[in-house]
Amino acid sequence: MEEKKVKAGKGFSSPIMMAISLIAASVGTGNIWRCPRVAASNGGAAFIIAYIVVMLVAVIPVMMGEHAIGRATRKGLPGAFRDFMGSKKATWLGTFVEWIVIITIAYYTVVVAWIFHYLFLSITGGCFVEDKQALFDSVSNHNVTILILYIVIQAFCAWGAYKGIKGIENSAKILLPILFFCVIILAIRTVTLPGASAGLNFLFNLDPKNLLSSTVWLQALTQCFWSAGPGWGICIAYGVYSKKKSDVALSSTVQGLGDMSVALLACVAIIPGLFACLGEQGALDACAAGNNGLAFIALTGVFEQIPGGRAFACLFWISLICASVTSIIAMYSIVVQPLADAGMSKKKSTLIMAVLTIALGIPSAWSINFFSNQDFVVGMGMVIGAFFSCVALRKYGAEKVRTNLLNNPYTGLHMGKWWDFGATIFCPLLAAAMFIWWCILSVGWNPDWYNPLGTYSLATMVLQLGVAGIIMAIFNNRIANSAGPCVFDGKDFPELVDNGFNS
C-alpha cells in the first residue's frame, strides 16, 4: 500500500497509565453483577478455576495480539484489519466490529441510566418498596426520566472521548480508584454479615465433577469474552495510542488480571450478602433471575435488610456507574477513530457518533424488550469479533506476531510458542464452540427461535448480524479507501500517528 507522510501524535502519558486505562475500559457492569451470578449458578469454585484458566491461556494472548494490531497499524478498526491483513478485502471485518461497538454504546448506556435512577432512589429510600419488580418495570419501560438521563450520560461519555487521550486517562484515574474503594467496602460489609460464611463456602467449594462439565467451561469463556474485551476492539483502539517502546504483553496481562481481580472481588462482595439475607435457596433464585433481577430486585432487597443499607446501596450503584462510564468512554474512543482516519475533525467525528448512538439507543431506553434484544444480539457479535481478531493474527502469522511484535527488545514478558497455540488455534476454536453452543441454547429455550422479530430468537440474531455483515461487505472498498495511508511496514511498530484525538 502507498505510504505517505503522516503527522506524529502523542500517546498515553506512561505505560502504567495505559495499563490503568485498559483495566478501566475492560471492567464493566459484567464484572460486578454478571460474574458473581454466573459463578454461583455454575459450580462456584469450578467456574472460578475455569475462568482463570481460560483467561490466561486463550483470552489474554488474543488481547496481546489485538494490542499489537492497533500499535502496528495506528488505525481505527476498519483500517487496522485492512493494513494488518494486507488486503482491502479484510476491511469489512473491522467495520463489522465497529458496528457492534456502536450498538453496544447505544443499549449499554441505558443500563447506566437505570443505575443512576436507582442511585437517586437509594438516597431517598424510594427503591425500598414492597413490589420491587413493579418498580423496575416502571423504570425500564416508557420512562421519560430514563430517556433524559440516557441522553445526558451519552453526551457526557462522548465529551470524555472528545477529550482524547486526556479524557481516557483522567476518567480512569478518577473512576477506577472509586470503583475499587466501593467494591472493597461492600466486600468487607457483606462478609461480616451473620451467615455470610455459607455464601463464601458455597462459592469456593470445589466439586471436581464440575470441572468436567462443558457448560461450566463455556460459561467461563462467555464471562471472559463479554467482560475482558477481546472482540470489541478496545485493545486495538488503545494500541493505536501506545508508544512504540511500551510493553504490549505486560499491558494486556495487567488488563486481563485487573479485569479478573474486580470480578473475583465482586463475587466475594455479592454472594455472601445474598446468602446472609436470603438463605441458600433465595440466593440461588436471585442468581437465576438474570443480571437485572439480581441487581435491581434481589440486591435492593438485601440492602433493605442490612444495617446502613442505604449507604451500601449507594456504594453499589456508584461502583457500577464508575465501571460502566469508563467502558462507554473507551467504546466511544473506538468508534470515533475510523472517522478521524478518514480525515474528519475531532469535533465532527465525535458529534456524528454521539448523534448516531443516541438515536440507536432511544428504543432500548424506552422498552426493555428492545434492550434485551440488543443485549442478546451484541453478545454474539462480540464472539464473532474475537474470532475475526484470531483470523487476522493467523493471517499475519502467529510466529511472526510473537517474534516481530510481542517479543521485541522493550518487553518485560517474553511469550513462548504456547502463545501461537493460545491466540490463533485455541481461542478461535473456543469462540466457534461458544457461538454454536449459544445458538443451540437459544433454539432450546425459545420455541419461537425462527421468528426474526422475537426478543431472544436465533433468527433475530442471524438477521441483524447478517444484514450488518452484508452492508459492511457492500461498502467495503469505499471504507477501505477512506481509512488513510498505511504506516505498517509489516515488520515493526511505527511511531505514533496523530489522528486528532492524540494531538
Binding site: 505505560p15 469456593f204 505486560l250 495487567v254 479478573m260 466475594v268 522493550y410
Partner: protein
Amino acid sequence: MTAESIILMIICLSGVWGGLIWAMLRLLHMQNEQGDQD
C-alpha cells in the same frame, strides 16, 4: 467455611491479585528502565 474452601479462596484471590501486582510492578520497572535509556 470448610478448610478446603478457605484454602481455595486464598489461592484464587492471592493468585489473581498477586499476579496483577507483579505485572504492574514489572511494567513500572520496564517503564523506569526505558526512561533511563531515553
